[in-house]
């Protein structure tokens, strides 16, 4: 009998709160990356809605007791998107927001890629692609065996699925029917060298995972309600591990970054200048986020 702690339903009011929060998180992300002067923009922006949903609705966790034994585990397999996790964690109360401005600086807990020796609440050290998903499977294996109530989530990028270790881990997770494990794939179609379909095609992705005995759910990764529903649905699957393929827009919220793989590894102020000059990238990005791409008028204007 699986041990499940149900994820609460999402009310209209809570949804609005989460959407507002996601927007604030995007703004802090832009500020943080600009100060850091290096780091990834596109992936973290594309994951802002998912991280907001996870930290502010889906996960059982306690920022005041970060290593609470019964917490849900959230692992990153694609360590390079960690800036968005840092911002979400700061918003959730794991550490003061001003610490975000230490990202990638000497002595900071906020390493360029996440490290548990600097901040245990990150759950795993990652960066070398492919290494996080098997660790999430190892955690879920023990939790299932010992009938522990926590759920293990792991976020994977789409590009990292090219690493064979992912499929080795998938076989292991399926062998032991790790229904307490949910992988979330950031399907944003870009990787450093270009579009995934050009670098190394991944489709048909759903069928790949289905043939590996995963239960597959596909969602719009910017629709928080849909994503929360998918996490709730994943809890009702008892016979297989679940993968949520979250279709996201890299750079979401900043039009000159959206869909552009050249923004994969660049921060505002150091990105491609074909649309916005470097010295205008920060303020243009912030304005975009503030006005939701021009659809609303900013309070400040």
């Amino acid at each position: 009998m699986p041990h499940i702690r149900p994820i609460p339903t999402l009310t209209e009011k809570k949804l609005l709160e989460l959407e507002t929060r996601a927007n604030q998180i995007r703004k802090d992300l832009i500020e943080m990356l600009t100060v850091a002067g290096s780091g990834h923009s596109a992936g973290p922006l594309g994951l802002a809605d998912i991280f907001t949903a996870l930290y502010f609705h889906v996960l059982r966790h306690d920022p005041k007791k970060p290593m609470w034994e019964m917490r849900d585990r959230l692992l990153l397999s694609c360590g390079h998107v960690v800036p968005i996790r840092y911002v979400a964690m700061a918003h959730a109360g794991y550490f003061p927001k001003h610490e975000l401005m230490t990202l990638r600086k000497l002595g900071s807990r906020l390493q360029g890629h996440p490290e548990i020796s600097h901040m245990p609440a990150l759950e795993n050290t990652s960066g070398p692609l492919g290494d996080g998903s098997p660790q999430s499977a190892g955690l879920a294996y023990i939790a299932k065996k010992e009938e522990l109530p926590w759920h293990t989530y792991c976020i994977l990028s789409d590009g990292e699925l090219e690493a064979g270790i992912t499929w080795e881990a998938a076989m292991f997770a399926a062998k032991y029917d790790l229904h307490n494990l949910t992988w979330i794939i950031d399907r944003n179609n870009i990787q450093i060298d270009g579009y995934t379909k050009d670098v190394m095609p991944l489709e048909p992705l759903r069928q790949k995972f289905e043939s590996f005995n995963f239960h597959v759910i596909e969602v719009d990764g910017h629709n928080i309600a849909e994503f929360v529903d998918a996490c709730r649905y994943a809890q009702s699957i008892w016979e297989h591990p679940v993968v949520i393929i979250a279709h996201t827009i890299p750079g979401k919220g900043v039009d000159f970054m959206e869909f552009d793989y050249k923004w994969h590894g660049a921060p505002p102020g150091k990105g491609p200048e074909d649309k916005v000059a470097r010295n205008k990238q920060r303020e243009t990005a912030l304005k975009q986020i503030r006005t939701l791409g021009g659809t609303i008028q900013s309070e400040c204007e």
């Binding site: 098997p134 190892g138 294996y141 080795e168 076989m171």
Partner: protein, 330 residues
């Protein structure tokens, strides 16, 4: 000086025909079983080599703590780290050529950088694997594991010591590499022979030259010392099983008192145990030294004993090399 056969060795160890012959991997299997009994947090994952890595006994005794992982060494290492994050002590077993040969980055990131309780059992190390040939004769593993921060590296000398090394590895907090071999080899240490982390054991006293070995070739060092003794040279024989952390005190003392050193291992000399000794002495007490092992080349098919002789890893060759180094001694 009079040679002193320490009671650390079994009586009659000198008689090659009479000494008990057991593969070091058997000692691993026995040790693992003891770990399983002692600590219920001990898990074992094996990459499709249950019988030959001697993990079968653990599987039979503790099936609920054993995972048949299939041929997937990279994920095996990272899954082990995940299980360790959940509080377990997790062994991963395969041939050393594949683990740590194939999964070095996963070991680096998930076991060492995270400093987790992942224990790597490297079976079939060395050229004495024999007929399988160079693909399966892992000789770079000591170098690969030794350079990793947080990693402990143990290369025990016989089946009995491998049993002890396995138990010790399970008790240490953090990642550990334990190296062992396929073929039967002499069991020349005893149940009460000390085995400690960071301690080398002096198996034979002598002040003319020090023979520092690890793994099953320590037995060849002892025989080389006998050959040298016949011509009036008394060699100190040191079992340097704890390659990392290394017993610098015992090494330094040997360098100062003997003034000449030969290191012996069934591994690539570049980066191996001999390199560890050479690096240390170059900085602290430069001493004439020669490293016996694989000299920047791969192994090949052949009978195990035939190969050890072919690659000049046995007692007569150690003696020859010792005499060569002695010419450089001040």
């Amino acid at each position: 000086m009079a040679k002193n056969e320490k009671s650390n060795l079994v009586s009659g160890w000198k008689q090659r025909k009479e000494v008990q012959m057991v593969p070091t991997r058997n000692g691993f299997g026995e040790g693992l079983l003891e770990c399983g009994e002692k600590n219920s947090n001990t898990y074992v994952i094996c990459a499709d080599l249950t019988e030959s890595t001697r993990t079968a006994a653990f599987e039979e005794a503790f099936p609920e703590r054993f995972v048949r992982f299939g041929v997937a060494e990279q994920a095996m290492a990272a899954v082990a780290a995940g299980m360790a994050l959940a509080g377990k002590r997790v062994w991963i077993a395969s041939y050393a050529a594949f683990s740590p040969g194939r999964n070095w980055e996963q070991i680096r990131t998930t076991a060492c950088l995270q400093n987790q309780n992942v224990k790597i059992a490297g079976a079939h190390a060395g050229v004495s694997v024999g007929p399988d040939g160079a693909t399966h004769q892992m000789i770079e593993d000591i170098a690969l594991m030794r350079v990793l921060p947080n990693m402990t590296v143990l290369v025990p000398c016989d089946a009995e010591e491998t049993r002890k090394a396995t138990i010790l590895a399970n008790e240490i907090d953090g990642p550990v590499y334990v190296r062992f071999a396929r073929e039967k080899s002499p069991v020349f240490t005893k149940k009460d022979t000390p085995f400690e982390l960071g301690k080398a054991q002096v198996f034979r006293n002598g002040d003319d030259i020090a023979l520092i070995g690890c793994g099953t070739l320590v037995y060849e060092c002892l025989h080389a010392a006998e050959l040298l003794s016949e011509i009036g040279i008394e060699a100190r024989v040191i079992n340097n099983a704890s390659v990392k952390p290394m017993d610098e005190e015992t090494i330094l003392k040997a360098a100062k008192e003997c003034g000449a050193i030969v290191t012996v291992e069934e591994a690539q000399v570049a980066g191996g145990m001999g390199s560890a000794v050479a690096e240390f002495l170059a900085e602290h007490h430069p001493t004439p030294l020669s490293r016996i092992g694989m000299q920047d080349r791969f192994g090949e098919s052949g009978e195990p004993q035939e190969l050890l002789e072919h690659f000049k890893l046995t007692a007569p060759h150690i003696k020859t090399e010792a005499l060569r180094v002695l010419k450089r001694k001040n």
